[in-house]
């Protein structure tokens, strides 16, 4: 391999290239069997918490510390092992998938014949043969196929999920080399850029030596066959490998997901730091106090407890440091080691529930919700802004041609016929000349006699200007059997990456201009049965910035024509002739109806013009440097002086329940922004129809701003209007150009306006602008949690930018799904995903985190307190085994099970009362107050444990019926026993949803502790050098006083918490708590829960009412009436507070109430 330039790799074709092996197996996954342990360990210890425990462990190994290294080593080992198993498992899955690719047999041309090898052995420069339905083993430049024109079809379903067939081309000079022997004699050099991850970009050129003459051809993405794609409808192809193994685009796209961290994780880290502070404080305090005590010899070294020589002689400073470290080790458990692993397990296991949810399963498309990252589950409960794409997300993306405007006349499609506006199918035949033509056109076989020239040209333009493919291999694929079985009249099936194009081509077919096929060089259409072949000269592909695409064709008569279609804003400025004004009016009318509009135009080239066009296109396409820029320049040179033909209006139906979902999100306090590429009028009308904008809203506009100052002025005006008119809700419409102006200079002003609007609609947005808007909101001072939802490749940047990215499994490929954090089939599922799953996950993880810190405070504070009674000698209160097992055995499972199954309110209630979502907004359960509450509770419980036991035992009385005494280990065990029980029961108090598993692990944990302690204390352990715990636990339990003490301490600890909970519930109930009570009424939830019996009242006085309630709880009429009242009141309560205005408009409430009664 020679390198001509830094960025260009030069490949000599047909030669074996010496490159180091191993370079080529795809190993995007992290590990191999050999490096798994070291590499995984390295990865894990990069985590601060793990590293911290490693340090503690090493300190324990090095210096004489109060606890054995096992106490931190074993939990660390446990945590590391569990994480390693999880990561190893995930990696193994990846390995399995990749082995199939890497080990697949491949045929390579070597020394004049086909040799079978494995795909991992394919080298750069190898010529590879791929047969039909095989996947490509590397990124190949197509040399030839079995077709004479050198095309082949592939699907990239495994790469981006797009199932349509795509045509790829070989350069004509190599396309003739269809056999191995011909390839052997081929002399060519391929130059290409350095590997890059973008699937849709490839720049290179091929120089073919043909009889001493060198021919240079450009290579683009259409020449490149991507690894992982599959060959379709083509018997075999030959290609030269340009990127293999890790360098292939697929492998480069394997990049690990951008690390999004949830708000909970951030607060978790804050808590960790706070606790680290507490830990250091305790350690420093203890060290200082120790030295204060030690200053007197009678405490430091009384006659009964002399130091060893070594201790006496060691340096004071070393001693001091070692003491400090020893205290650090003693108290280190205050940082919960198993927190991370439990959180990780919780997220990993908990995320299955999303995929399992039947409510998130879409029957029609057989799609269930998909979780790509489990790290963000709880973030679903924190969303404040939803940014949604329109097409395919709010709408079906199922395009249906509805109307068109041809040369200034508006037409409607009715029953497959084009009818001029104002005439319906019911009208008597023959009245209008157009109609006659329409009705008769199918019988007209000779010419387009019944269409006017403009109409025919328009239809031809529409049926030619596209990149639709036809699956003309009739026996191939399941789709055809489906078609045959259904007896569908369609002779062919169109495949298009854009549903608009498909809808248009299908529409022209219905009208008699049928697109028959495209064999690479020619496009064939049948106009009323008469076949016409157009030579396809160039395709000017669609791109999002230009927002139009064009084809240059040679008509059968030899004329060179450009057909172009695109967004009206990108065509009208370039239109020179045609009914521009009328068409513009029509386009606006279409947009008002919510139709997607495209404008069609053409340009005829003179021979000279075409030559220049051809030359410039060729130059631009063969350019190696700045090809994109040069192409854009050429395209704009070509697509001008257009002759306007007309416009099309395609309908995109709203998805079901979009309105309800948006309303639910709004009730939940979430602001919904619609970001769309559509034009202003379309976007507004869709916004209105999907309930994003209310009819009652005051709609503010920031559109078509041309200059900075104008934009600023408009913004100020809007801000003033909002201030003046703060009663009514406002909606804001912004378009792309104005937005970029607003963002450039007046970001703050813009944000201010946006925040006071209850709905914002951004239209005409480029993909990057979408991401920019998301980032703007995300980084605004309040740092709100943003969620972006979309279905297309143009939404990817916004999905990646937002805190939570959701992909819709739509029709525009799977790009969005692949880059999303969660993927769902329908927009309406968002409501359940956020309101129910998000709420649950948040509650679960928040309680999990708080509880973890709580239980470790409980755990370690008695140790700290004990130091005051043992001269700060670092004597542990608990035995090493208890220290070790507390977090990994005795208290680990209940909280894990809790965090998987907890449901504090019934899911139906959460979904039907979106306002409950507000109870957890702004990370409410992990804010400073709850954190303080939990921490203080931890400390106070620890004090009760310690001093309870101290008063009981410390007053040096015997607790046993035989007068014998307990020692320090019994004291520690008593504290520990009380602690395990209290901590477990504390979680039980937090649990609202007791499945059999909760019962099992809660009572099981306590039972396990007892059984384990009996066992552990029942044996003289042969390998332990002390037998401190021998029969300690049995002796403790044999004391009646100890039992009474355990009960009283546990009750004392939990009792204030219960009182607090009850008082708060009655005096200051949250809406969630209110709905817990309400929940007891509807029949279903009542039947299987005990709450309906104990709900509300108690005691004997209310027995009568209780019976009455029990009797009537399944009374349907009553339940329903309750619901009505309930929802109505909800509206009263919550609709008004959605927007910024504090007082609702009377009208709004009225409409809400009316709606609710309609519902019922």
């Amino acid at each position: 391999m020679e390198c001509t330039a830094d960025t260009v790799a030069l490949l000599w074709m047909g030669r074996q290239l010496p490159l180091s092996p191993g370079h080529f197996t795809v190993s995007c996954f992290y590990y191999t069997i050999w490096n798994f342990i070291p590499k995984n360990l390295f990865e894990q210890f990069r985590r601060i918490a793990n590293f911290y425990f490693l340090i503690i462990f090493l300190v324990q190994l090095m210096i004489d510390t109060p606890t054995s290294p096992v106490t931190s080593g074993l939990p660390l080992f446990f945590v590391i092992t569990v994480t390693a198993i999880k990561q190893g498992y995930e990696d193994w899955l990846r390995h399995k998938a990749d082995n199939e690719v890497n080990g697949a047999p491949v045929f390579v041309v070597r020394s004049g014949s086909l040799v079978q090898t494995r795909s991992k052995n394919v080298r750069v420069g190898d010529i590879v043969r791929v047969a039909k339905d095989e996947t490509f083993p590397a990124d190949l430049v197509l040399l030839s196929s079995d077709r004479a024109e050198g095309t082949c079809h592939i699907t990239t379903a495994s790469l981006d999920g797009e199932t349509n067939l795509k045509t790829h081309f070989a350069v004509p000079e190599t396309a003739v080399s269809q056999t191995v022997s011909k390839l052997e004699s081929l002399q060519a050099v391929v130059e290409c850029q350095q590997p890059e991850a973008d699937l849709y970009r490839f720049v290179g050129r091929i120089t073919v030596s043909l009889q001493g003459e060198e021919i240079v051809r450009p290579l683009g993405p259409e020449n490149l066959l991507l690894r992982g794609a599959r060959l379709k409808n083509t018997k075999e192809i030959f290609g030269v490998a340009v990127y293999t193994g890790m360098e292939s685009k697929m492998a480069l796209n394997y990049k690990c997901k951008s690390q999004k961290r949830s708000a909970v994780e951030k607060s978790m880290n804050t808590f960790l730091i706070i606790y680290l502070g507490i830990l250091l404080l305790e350690a420093v305090l203890s060290t200082i106090l120790k030295y204060a005590w030690q200053s007197e010899r009678k405490w430091d070294e009384p006659f009964y407890n002399e130091k060893t020589e070594q201790e006496k002689n060691s340096s004071k400073i070393l001693q001091f440091i070692s003491d400090f470290l020893a205290f650090l080790v003693l108290y280190n458990f205050i940082i919960p080691i198993s927190l991370y692993v439990t959180v990780e397990m919780q997220k990993f296991l908990g995320s299955f529930f999303i995929g399992w949810d039947l409510d998130l399963y879409h029957v029609e498309s057989d799609q269930k919700a998909q979780v790509n990252t489990s790290d963000l589950n709880e973030e679903l409960g924190q969303v404040e802004y939803v940014f949604t794409d329109k097409t395919g997300t709010l709408t079906e993306n199922e395009m249906q041609f509805r109307e068109c405007s041809i040369n200034g006349v508006k037409f409607q499609e009715i029953n497959g016929k084009l009818v001029p506006e104002g005439v319906t199918d019911d009208s008597p035949d023959g009245y209008m000349p157009h109609l006659v033509r329409v009705l008769l056109h199918q019988t007209c076989t000779l010419s387009s006699c019944f269409f006017t020239g403009e109409e025919e040209l328009f239809l031809k333009a529409v049926s030619l200007c596209h990149t639709v493919q036809i699956n003309y291999d009739q026996t191939d694929g399941p789709r055809d059997t489906f078609l045959q079985a259904n007896g569908v009249s369609d002779p062919v099936e169109y495949y298009a990456s854009s549903p608009d194009e498909k809808a248009l081509v299908e529409a022209t077919r219905r009208m008699g201009v049928t697109f028959v096929g495209n064999n690479g060089e020619n496009m064939e259409i049948k106009t009323f049965g008469r076949s016409e072949k157009y030579k396809l000269l160039h395709v000017l592909e669609f791109d999002a910035n230009r927002r139009r695409m064009s084809v240059i064709l040679q008509t059968p008569s030899g004329e060179k024509v450009l057909f172009t279609k695109g967004a009206e804003s990108s065509i009208f400025p370039h239109a020179r002739s045609g009914e521009v004004d009328k068409t513009r009016v029509h386009v606006d009318e279409f947009a008002l109806k919510g139709l997607r509009t495209l404008v069609v135009a053409c340009r005829r080239f003179s021979a000279g013009e075409y030559e220049e066009v051809d030359r410039r296109l060729h130059e631009a396409r063969t350019a190696l440097q700045q090809r994109e820029e040069r192409l854009a320049e050429v395209f704009s040179f070509i697509e001008r002086d257009l002759e306007l033909l007309g416009a099309t209006g395609v309908e995109d139906r709203l998805q079901e329940k979009v309105q309800e979902t948006i309303e639910a999100l709004r009730l939940a306090g979430i602001k919904v922004w619609v970001l769309t590429g559509d034009k202003h009028e379309t976007a507004v009308s869709v916004s209105l129809s999907c309930g994003h904008f209310h009819r009652t809203m005051n709609i503010l506009e920031l559109v078509q701003q041309k200059s900075d100052s104008e934009c600023a002025e408009q913004l100020r005006r809007l801000a003033r209007r909002i201030r003046e008119d703060h009663v009514i809700q406002h909606g804001l419409v912004v378009d792309g150009t104005s937005l970029s102006l607003a963002l450039r200079q007046h970001e703050r002003l813009f944000m201010e306006v946006c925040r006071s609007c209850s709905a914002v609609l951004c239209c005409r947005m480029a993909p990057l602008q979408k991401a920019k808007v998301v980032r703007l909101i995300k980084t605004s001072p309040e740092k709100p949690i943003t969620l972006a939802i979309g279905d297309g490749a143009n939404d990817v940047s916004m999905i990646q930018e937002a805190n939570v990215g959701i992909g819709i499994m739509g029709k525009e490929g799977r790009q969005a799904v692949r880059n999303s954090d969660y993927a769902i089939a329908r927009f309406k599922f968002l409501a359940k995903l956020l309101l129910v799953h998000g709420h649950f996950y948040y509650i679960r993880i928040a309680t999990l985190v708080q509880y973890f810190f709580y239980k470790n405070v409980c755990f370690i504070t008695p140790q700290f307190l004990y130091q005051f009674f043992c001269l700060f000698s670092q004597q542990t209160l608990y035995d090493s085994v208890y220290l070790t097992l507390y977090n990994i055995c005795f208290t680990s499972l209940p909280v894990l099970v809790y965090s998987l199954f907890e449901q504090l309110v019934h899911p139906h209630v959460l979904q039907s009362k979106p306002a409950l979502y507000r109870d957890i907004s702004k990370n409410a359960l992990l804010s400073f107050k709850p954190f303080l509450y939990w921490t203080l509770q931890g400390f106070s419980h620890a004090f009760v444990f310690f001093f309870g036991s101290y008063i009981l035992m410390g007053e040096d009385t015997s607790l046993m019926g035989n007068g014998q005494m307990f020692g320090n280990w019994t004291f520690g065990t008593l504290v520990f026993t009380v602690m395990v029980i209290t901590v477990t029961l504390k979680l039980a108090l937090e649990t609202h949803y007791w499945t059999w598993m909760n019962h099992f692990v809660t009572w099981g944990s306590i039972a396990f502790y007892f059984i384990f302690s009996l066992f552990y204390g029942g044996i003289i352990w042969p390998f332990l050098h002390t037998q401190d715990m021998y029969f300690v636990f049995v002796q403790l339990l044999s004391s009646g006083s100890a039992w009474f003490a355990i009960i009283i301490v546990v009750v004392t600890c939990l009792f204030p918490d219960v009182v607090k909970k009850v008082l708060y519930r009655h005096l200051r109930p949250t809406s969630t708590q209110k709905s817990q009570v309400i929940e007891a009424y509807p029949g279903t939830s009542c039947l299987d829960s005990a709450c309906c019996f104990s709900e509300g009242k108690s005691g004997f006085a209310w027995l009568g009412r209780l019976v009455e309630r029990t009797m009537s709880r399944c009374d349907l009429a009553r339940v329903t009436s309750l619901y009505v009242i309930f929802y109505t009141s909800e509206q009263h309560l919550f609709i008004p507070s959605v927007g910024t205005p504090p007082n609702p408009t009377p009208f709004l409430v009225l409409s809400a109430v009316r709606n609710s009664s309609m519902q019922w």
Binding site: W299, L358, L871, S912, G963, F966, F971, Y1030, I1048, G1096
Partner: protein, 370 residues
């Protein structure tokens, strides 16, 4: 508004789904299983902590705890206990002289006697404790300074004690048995109790020295090493006595069942106390006849062979006589705690009842009629 209709519809989907999978299983679809587990519909008990649910619990706790507390308090109060401090730091104290001359190896033991009187008779078995204050048996260096393997009769450990015993591991190159700081500082005062009959005679009270250590300690955890010779002296040949001891371990008692490592005084001492002020069981005074009290009312003399120095660390020494109930020694704390918690529970129950009556009915009805 719409959300409600929405959920109702979803519910419909649920039910149809419930019927679905059995029939539709033939077609392999990605449809999730409609199991209670996967749909998070596991049958569950959903308790809510309202005044209604908690009130009965409060009353029950209150009604249970108060009588229990009274019972515990009364039990504790019925226990007789007498403490005598014989440290002798005050010059007026009879043991003042003994406490002043500190030496471990006094050839002539210093004996002092303290007189006291019992106002009330001790009826059942009486337990005699010695108590020490300011003695940090829970110091880490102290706690770990022992070799359980040696005490369990392991011959290797007898000759080669654990490093944890430093600096009480060897003496003059010979291994110390039992090694370590705990054993070395064995409490070695001897207490004897005399009843001063009103007629002037002084009768020594029989003190039982067996049964003061945990049974498992005595029989499993502590064992004398077993050699070829059954003679303890021979087995301990080659070991040194702890530095502070007056006699070697095999001469602790004449009774072979209470000698060597299984000497109960040693075992009791080896169970390190949790806190710096502690007591340890010393002797038991068994009740002899069912008619007369174990310790009748009257005057007694405690004769102390004063060996154990505590002056250097401002320690105090006590002798405690106590009767025992099923719940142990005198400990009013439990009873008080139960009474307090029970009363608070009951009181809060009443408060909650009022709250429940005033607010509870309002808030529950508010949800329905708002």
């Amino acid at each position: 508004v719409m959300a409600s209709g929405y959920s109702a519809k979803e519910e419909d989907g649920h039910h149809s789904g419930a019927l679905g999978p059995a029939g539709g299983a033939a077609v392999r679809s990605r449809k999730p299983d409609n199991t209670a587990f996967k749909q998070q519909r596991l049958p569950a008990w959903q308790p809510i902590l309202t005044a209604g649910t908690v009130l009965p619990a409060f009353f029950i706790i209150g009604l249970l705890f108060i009588p229990i507390g009274i019972g515990l308090y009364v039990t504790s109060n019925n226990i007789r206990e007498l403490q005598i401090d014989y440290t002798g730091t005050e010059s007026s104290s009879p043991c003042f002289a003994c406490s002043q001359n500190y030496s471990w190896n006094m050839t002539t033991p210093c004996v002092c006697s303290v007189s006291f009187s019992l106002d009330q008779p001790f009826e059942s078995n009486v337990f005699m404790y010695y108590g020490l204050s300011n003695f940090y048996q829970n110091h880490r260096r102290y706690v770990k300074s022992r070799d359980d393997s040696q005490l369990n009769g392991n011959l290797n450990s007898l000759k080669e004690p654990s490093k944890e015993c430093e600096p009480y591991r060897t003496n003059d190159g010979k291994p110390i048995a039992p090694c370590g700081a705990i054993a070395n500082s064995l409490f070695n005062d001897t207490l004897a109790l005399y009843y001063n009959d009103p007629n002037g005679t002084e009768t020594q009270i029989q003190l039982v020295k067996r049964g003061i250590a945990w049974w498992t300690d005595k029989h499993v955890k502590f064992r004398n090493p077993v050699g070829d010779d059954s003679n303890l002296t021979a087995i301990f040949q080659g070991t040194a006595k702890p530095v502070n001891w007056q006699k070697p371990v095999y001469e602790l008692d004449s009774d072979p069942e209470n000698n060597g490592f299984i000497n109960e005084d040693l075992i009791v001492w080896m169970r390190t106390a949790a806190l710096p002020t502690f007591r340890k069981l010393y002797r038991i005074i068994e009740k002899n006849s069912s008619t007369s009290p174990t310790l009748p009312r009257g005057n007694y003399t405690l004769k102390i062979t004063y060996n154990y120095p505590v002056r250097s660390f401002e320690g105090r020494k006590r002798m405690i006589l106590s009767t025992i109930s099923w719940m142990g020694g005198k400990n009013p704390f439990l009873g008080i705690a139960y009474i307090t918690v029970g009363s608070i529970c009951f009181f809060l129950g009443v408060v909650l009842l009022i709250i429940h009556h005033k607010y509870g009915s309002r808030s529950s009805s508010a949800d329905l009629t708002h």
